[in-house]
Amino acid sequence: MNEDFISTLLLTGKLAGWTTLILFIIGLPLAYLLAYKRFFLKPVLEALISMPLVLPPTVLGFYMLVAYSPEHFFGRFLEDTFDWRLAFSFEGILIASVVFSLPFMIQPLQNGLTAIPKSFREAAYTLGKSEFTTFIKVLIPNMIPSIITALAMTFAHCIGEFGVVIMVGGNMPGETRVASIAIYDEVQMLNYDVANQYSFVLFIVSMVILTVIYSINGKKKIFF
């Protein structure tokens, strides 16, 4: 196996790993908000989060490119303040990947939270516990299968991401060339053997992740 192959797979893992970590940190409070709170424009927020499920990745990629451009406010702000150019960089595809994978993290977490009987939260409140303590000590430990599903689904989805990454990051080895793009690239160059190697790795990784999710969900009924 050549260096290129390894570095592409490592970059794919790095993108999926960082995306999953960032989304988990953002996702927990966001899922809590959506599961339990009522507020103005909640349906709009829910629709925005779910957009990547129905929107072509190229649409989101296009808007991300526009946003990253120094011609526009966000891109200009990043360049002027931090000297960052996000288009065609790892950081650029990471942000796009976070936005595009949002529903894969939020929805399992939100479902996990709403499946917990309301009386658990209420019991904790009547015992004098704050919402935060209840979240950490009662809710999170009772939704572990949903957390694992959310992490695994997000990671698996990121590994297979193509449209957004190619729009925002292009095909730069070591920087933005992830496995799914490498497959496309190798097929274009008629290197079917290398394309097959990448495909096989992605197939196995995705299969293992999904098997883990289904076996965990099969045991979910332990608690309730």
Binding site: P117, S119, F120, E122, A123, A124, Y125, T126, L127, G128, K129, S130, K137, V138, P141, N142, I222, F223, F224
Partner: protein, 230 residues
């Protein structure tokens, strides 16, 4: 002394009804709320616990205002120091029996936990998780946990409804123990006339959200038997 004077619109199986309760409960009373499904018993308990908000009125306990719509006071559930036992017991599956009880404590105190485990005969079950317990055992853990917080008001929402006859009889004694240990006010929701007669020191009859009787258990159960509270 618990003073209740509240109104709240409720949605029942037959449509909207107004829950309207004006009552006073003296210190050390074990008050039973008696009435059909949808009469407002659980809603009233939830209002007292701070889990539901009345539309109008006030709730006061030992001189402390818990709710007053006129003054816009609504003390959150966390600050009312109420022990609430839910119909489904709401025991946390991720914690053992002992941890569930410890979770109820405001300040960790192993000795107090031991006392509660002994009082409710849970010593041998302390390392078990709630999902492995029987209905009666769960009920005892829920009672112990509610008491661990040293509440000033104990609210028991149909604590015995899911249990068989023999178990009910045994666990009625546990409720008396809990009430005596607390030495304050206990409110209990029940459908069972014999249970009310055994446990309660006073009774409120609720019918479609209205109080149709408030007095000692014998008199109130006479009304129920004669179907006069309908």
């Amino acid at each position: 002394m618990l003073k209740i004077n509240i109104e709240r619109e409720m949605l029942t199986a037959v449509g909207k009804t107004l829950l309207k309760v004006n009552a006073e409960v003296a210190e050390k009373e074990l008050l039973c709320l008696f009435g059909h499904s949808g009469s407002g018993k659980t809603t009233l308990m939830r209002i007292l616990a701070g889990l539901n908000k009345p539309d109008r009125g006030y709730v006061e306990f030992n001189g402390q205002v818990w709710f007053d719509s006129a003054k816009k006071i609504n003390l959150p559930a966390q600050e009312r120091n109420v022990g609430y036992m839910f119909q489904d017991y709401a025991l946390f599956p991720n914690m053992t029996v002992r941890k569930n009880i410890e979770f109820g404590q405001k300040i960790k105190n192993a000795e107090e936990v031991e006392k509660l485990l002994t009082l409710f005969e849970l010593e041998t079950l302390q390392k078990q998780h709630p999902q492995k317990l029987s209905g009666g055992q769960k009920q005892r853990v829920a009672l112990a946990r509610a008491l661990a917080a040293k509440p000033q008001l104990l609210l028991l929402d149909e604590p015995l409804s899911a249990l068989d006859f023999e178990m009910r009889i045994n666990l009625q004694d546990e409720i008396i123990k809990a009430h005596e240990m607390l030495n304050s006010v206990t409110l209990l929701v029940s459908h069972d006339i014999k249970e009310v007669e055994k446990l309660a020191s006073s009774v409120i009859l609720l019918r479609n959200g209205k109080v149709t009787g408030h007095g000692n258990p014998k008199e109130m159960m006479k009304l129920v038997n004669a179907q006069l509270y309908y």
